[in-house]
Amino acid sequence: MLQIEKVHTFYGHIEALRGVDMEVKTGEIVTLIGSNGAGKSTLLMTVCGTPQASLGRVIFDGRDITHEPTHQIMRSGIAQAPEGRRIFPRMTVLENLQMGALVGDPANFAEDIEKVLAIFPILRQRQGQRGGTLSGGEQQMLAIARALMSRPRLLLLDEPSLGLAPMIVRQIFQIIREINERTGTTILLVEQNAYHALRLAHRGYVLVNGAITLTGTGSQLLANREVRAAYLEGGH
């Protein structure tokens, strides 16, 4: 579904991605692990076209989207719940969801919102509340819900567990699995919390210093010595 071929991305003079190759197949959960600054978020943002890759290609559904503007890419079936959640703080929960549905068909709105609120019942109670007043876990759920409102075929999740109580983290990962199983949405997940992410994912990639160093199924990577030494020891 998504192919990333030899992608290089620059932030100013800094080369954040140095020739990344990876692939996400339809219906998979793929996770990308790596330390802070390895370029995980940059990779997700490059898929969305901000910044655009300076070399290489990003292909989604057989279409080269490398040089398309972001808003076009987001209209072609990709949605992202970015790092730090980025809820619109002065909009209500409902308005946030409306923003998520911007690229969708307005006729589907009522149906979609019911579906999303069924996945995240807590948001139903909070509908009229401003995004900024939600707790961290609720904001994360809203961010995922908002991304789902556009009926994406590919969902990009950037560090959904960041800063949440261990209890909420388990809940979020459970929901991600459910979304994938129930709706068949393909998911590309970036995580610092390698342990949970690898347990959840069908396949995983390890990103070091802007390049992929290792790939395999979730279990293979969990069992890999280097991975354990670099990302798992010292707790989860």
Binding site: H8, F10, S54, L55
Partner: protein
């Protein structure tokens, strides 16, 4: 490609229609309407062709277009310089020239880019900035040497020295404002207020109390600094943009007060016959008053008005260098580092126990003081001041000098002053287009280099080798 250029032409046609296509002409009491469709269509055509050529350049047909546009813009400049061919619509000529020049530059960039890899491209101007910073002391030395000898160069006529005085005044103002904007990061849009306070303090003190230049100067500077503190105290807690607008309002307030407080400032008529500075008590007049020696008599020279101008030139050179020495020095002081730290992150400064208000206030007061000095000089040089000289556009020009030069860069201020003040003065003949070009240039430079021309920063202190064996 045609469609793109057509859209552009359509947009420019719609833009040009009301203001270029029609002209309101004054007729006696009222106005009547005139049309200028010819000019309008010419302008639109230039833009259409220009856009088309630009797209062709991007598509890889650079060489021929480059040659043609270079020739065209050169021909135009030669025509302007030597008045070869009479021009009915100079504005359209300039428009054509600008379009041609932009195309020529663009073609050059595209060609250059083709010969080097896109990745890892380092900015040439950035490198120049680092180079300038490295050779700064030598460059500064050469510049100072040139500045000292300039009045005695063969090309230095009265107009040249006058221009030198003007540029140096703005350099000094730029250096003064650099303390506030460049180092402390406080956006001051009303700097001209302190310039005005200095000038009026100087005028009033020197006329009413019969003090000479060197006695009045510190008083006027102190007065301006006092105003800086008075303004700064209540408003320095405000966030950046609010501060900008309050200082802008303050600048206007000062001007309006000067305009309306007739008893003190003589209102819009201004203050005249401000005493000129003397050279150790010697005056620069052909026939001095009884008991006063004239400069030319003492040195056995023929009287020439240029003596006075050269004297003024050295005064402002001295003042400017004083400002420069002071700012370079204070940058290395704890207070200077605190200013820069405040610019970078005020919150972190507070956490480190730095009092933000007092620190900003010193920057504000010192900047104001130099503005006051420059104002004093302005008053004594002109001999006449009125509120008209202190409007917002002056503040904008000084700020533009600091920002275009590259904030915090001393040499940048010099370059920007020469470019913005000296440059337009050379095109005096084109009075009408001067400010138009000035505005356009500000936009163009900002878009080209938002961080200013020379924005490289050198640390104020370097970690030397460890003294002895005192390693932890």
């Amino acid at each position: 490609m045609l469609k793109d250029a057509g859209m552009m032409a359509l947009a420019s046609l719609a833009l040009a229609m009301p203001l270029v296509g029609f002209q309101t002409v004054d007729r006696g009491a009222g106005i009547v309407l005139d049309t200028r469709f010819g000019a309008m269509f010419y302008a639109v055509a230039v833009i259409f062709v220009g856009r088309l050529l630009l797209l062709l350049i991007e598509a890889g047909h650079a060489s021929l277009i480059q040659a043609a546009t270079v020739a065209l813009s050169a021909a135009w400049l030669i025509n302007v310089a030597f008045h070869l061919y009479p021009i009915t619509w100079p504005a359209l000529g300039w428009l054509t020239w600008i379009v041609a020049s932009v195309l020529a530059i663009r073609a050059w960039i595209v060609q250059r880019r083709a010969t080097r890899p896109a990745a890892g491209y380092t900015d040439g101007v950035e490198k120049l900035g680092a180079l300038v910073a490295r050779i700064g002391p030598y460059l500064g030395g050469i510049a100072v040497a040139f500045a000292f000898t300039m009045p005695f160069m063969p090309f230095a006529d009265q107009r040249m020295v006058d221009l030198g005085i003007l540029v140096l005044t703005y350099i000094m103002l730029g250096w003064g404002l650099n303390v506030v904007v460049g180092l402390a990061g406080l956006l001051d849009l009303g700097y001209v207020a302190f310039y005005a306070v200095g000038a009026y303090s100087y005028a009033i003190l020197s006329i009413h109390f019969d003090l000479n230049f060197w006695q009045t100067l510190p008083l006027a500077g102190a007065m301006a600094a006092l105003f800086g503190v008075l303004l700064g105290f209540p408003v320095l807690r405000l966030r950046g943009d609010y501060l900008a607008i309050v200082t802008l309002g303050f600048g206007e307030m000062i001007r309006l007060i000067l305009l309306n407080w007739d008893d003190l400032t003589n209102g819009p008529k201004g203050i005249g016959s401000i005493p000129r500075p003397s050279f150790f008590g010697m005056q620069f007049t052909a026939a001095p008053r009884e008991g006063v020696t004239a400069f030319h008599e003492f040195f056995n020279l023929d009287f020439a008005p240029i003596h006075r101008i050269i004297h003024l030139y050295y005064i402002i050179l001295f003042l400017a260098l004083l400002t420069n020495w002071f700012t370079l020095r204070i940058r290395k002081m704890p207070i200077g580092r605190a200013w820069e730290a405040l610019r970078e992150d005020e919150t972190a400064c507070r956490a480190l126990g730095i009092n933000p208000t007092n620190t900003k206030l010193t920057a504000f007061a010192i900047g104001a003081m130099f503005g006051g000095f420059a104002g004093s000089f302005f008053a004594t040089r002109q001999g006449f001041i009125s509120p008209e000289s202190f409007n917002f556009i002056e503040s904008a020009i000084i700020l533009a000098i600091v920002v275009l030069g590259g904030m915090g860069s001393q040499i940048g201020v010099v370059v920007a002053s020469i470019l913005l003040i000296g440059g337009p003065e050379w095109f005096r003949d084109l009075e009408a287009y001067r400010m138009l070009a000035f505005g356009g240039l500000m936009v163009a430079i900002m878009i080209w280099r938002p961080q200013g021309l020379l924005s490289h920063r050198e640390p104020t202190i370097k970690l030397g080798p460890s003294p002895g064996a005192r390693s932890a």
